[in-house]
């Protein structure tokens, strides 16, 4: 993967050149084992050395931006991450002159769940990971397993229409030919189910939820900071009881607040420790927003989110038919 190596060096050089003027640059480094990456907050040359941009580096750095408000920071962003940044900019939650964007043309990131499923047994601690051009060599307990990269890419990457950053100050890598977004098969299959089956599915799924709020905490568009109405003691929106209804109410709050804002980075689903397929809800809501308002969050600057504006005659709302 010489291409990646040179891209990494190119990126490092670009960051190095601006590091002095930035409070922090957010990228990725290796996590607790070679298979897992973790966000890296670069404040010094030494930090910079740990930077990685391998397909294992999955986290959306846009999630951390609002915490840096008023400071000038840099972000290493893939296509989907740049959409989150654009949406945050459009909503005036961050300022354009307070972020420097180091864009990566992205070939996709891995799904740890798919890796886990593809390995013969739960790997536990991984000793080494070697990245080939199209495959991944993972060494666990002295034994190497080889996985095809294409087979362990995250679903969102398989159907990604925006692999290249839509806004960037520095662009690293080669741009992709335009692609069409597609709906994953599991989405279509789920949507085709009847109400009873869907309800039963959510009842079941929501009984798994442990209300850890990881989905919310990693969401780049969840900007209520410490004031989420789901966890406020003052609001009567919901109780802290761990029942399917209350867990689902929490998800309804999340998806409702994301109407017309979700950039489909998939972080919520990735972060869920009990594998709740939250993107089913997100993709469906985004589809409705696209159909009614012709709007997709985070694909263009200076767009108002659809629920913050209106038209006197809504071309695609036929509410008077009832």
């Amino acid at each position: 993967m010489s291409g990646e190596v040179s891209q990494l060096e190119e990126l490092k050089a670009a960051i190095r050149g601006q590091l002095d003027s930035l409070d922090c640059v957010i990228g990725w480094e290796q996590g607790y084992d070679p298979l897992h990456a973790t966000p890296l907050f670069i404040r010094s040359e030494a930090d910079l050395e740990r930077l990685t941009i391998s397909p294992l580096a999955v986290h959306n750095p846009a999630t951390y931006t609002t915490g840096f408000k008023g400071k000038k920071i840099g972000l290493v962003v893939r296509g989907c991450h740049s959409r989150s940044v654009i949406e945050l900019l459009n909503e005036k939650l961050i300022e354009r002159d307070e972020v420097v964007l180091f864009g990566l043309c992205c070939d996709g990131v891995v799904s740890q769940r798919k890796i886990r499923a593809a390995l013969p047994a739960d790997p536990g601690f991984v000793e080494a990971v070697e990245l080939g051009k199209d495959e991944l060599h993972i060494t666990v307990a002295g034994e190497q397993a080889t996985l095809k990269l294409q087979e362990v890419l995250a679903d969102k990457c398989l159907h990604c229409a925006y692999p290249d950053p839509l806004v960037a100050d520095v662009l690293i890598g080669e741009k992709h030919a335009p692609r069409q977004a597609a709906s994953p098969a599991c989405q279509d299959a789920f949507e085709a189910l009847g109400n009873e089956e869907k309800l039963a599915f959510w009842q079941d799924t929501m009984s798994r939820c442990i209300r850890c709020y990881a989905c919310r905490n990693v969401c780049p568009m969840c900007v209520c900071q410490d004031h989420c109405i789901a966890t406020s003691r003052d609001h009567l929106w919901m109780s802290q009881e761990n029942t399917p209804v209350e867990n689902f109410m929490f998800q309804m709050i999340h998806v409702s607040h994301l109407t017309g804002r979700c950039t489909e980075c998939g972080e919520c689903e990735r972060a869920c420790p009990v594998d709740i397929p939250l993107m089913l809800l997100r993709r469906y809501m985004n589809k409705q927003v696209r159909e009614v308002f012709g709007h997709q969050a985070g694909i263009a600057l200076d767009k108002t989110p659809p629920l913050l504006t209106f038209q006197v005659e809504e071309a695609r709302i036929k509410e008077r038919d009832w």
Binding site: S111, R113, K114, A117, A154, D155, L158, P184, C186, Q187, A189, F190, E191, N195, E197, K198, L199, A200, F201, W202, Q203, D204, S207, R208, W237, M238, P244, V245, F248, M249, M252, I253, V255, S256, T259, G260, E269, V274, D275, I276, P277, L280, L281, Y284, M285, Q288, V289, E291, V292, F293, P306, L307, F310, Q311, V312, E314, I317, E319, R320, W322
Partner: protein, 165 residues
């Protein structure tokens, strides 16, 4: 539907703006336009005050139907409230199918303060629709056994999910 079921009230929650639809419901009352009794009305100043999550909360709490009514577009007492409401409510209505909650349990419409007759029609039709749909299914398990079954099924299936990447 047996006569007894028809007798049984279902729980229908209405959110009405104060200026048009609540007035329209008053007008219907003053004119003694007989309506089904299932509906209970929550008065809000404007349809723009209605958070779609109020409706979700009601539905998840077990409401059998939720009806929202505001001023006709262009007639909003606050000029723009129903324009925002229309977008929010339309998105909710379109979103409900993915949750498995029958979207026909939620409806929004416009009734002005002078339209007592229209209000009667809206309430009658919506109530009829909800009765046709019958009581809403419970989201939570209703008995200890079901709770247990749900937990066991979940455990048996483990953390994997076909629909997941």
């Amino acid at each position: 539907m047996s006569a007894q079921d028809e007798q049984r009230e279902l729980r229908i929650v209405g959110f009405l703006c104060n200026w048009c639809s609540y007035g329209g419901a008053d007008t219907a009352g003053v004119a003694r336009f007989i309506q089904p009794t299932d509906l209970r009305i929550i008065r809000v100043p404007c349809s723009g005050r209605i958070d779609p999550l109020f409706i979700v909360r009601a539905l998840l709490n077990g409401a059998d139907g939720v009806l929202v009514s505001g001023c006709h577009p262009r007639d909003c007492h606050y000029a723009e409230g129903n324009f925002y409401a229309r977008r929010r409510l339309e998105m909710l209505k379109r979103f409900l199918p993915i949750t498995g909650i029958d979207e026909r349990r939620f409806e929004y419409t416009w009734v002005s303060a002078s339209e007592g007759q229209r209000w009667q029609h809206v309430v009658t039709e919506f109530t009829r629709r909800i009765h046709e749909l019958g009581p809403a299914p419970f989201f939570n398990p209703v008995s200890e056994e079901e709770w247990a079954k749900l937990a066991l099924d979940g455990a048996a299936r483990g953390a994997s999910c076909a629909c997941h990447g």
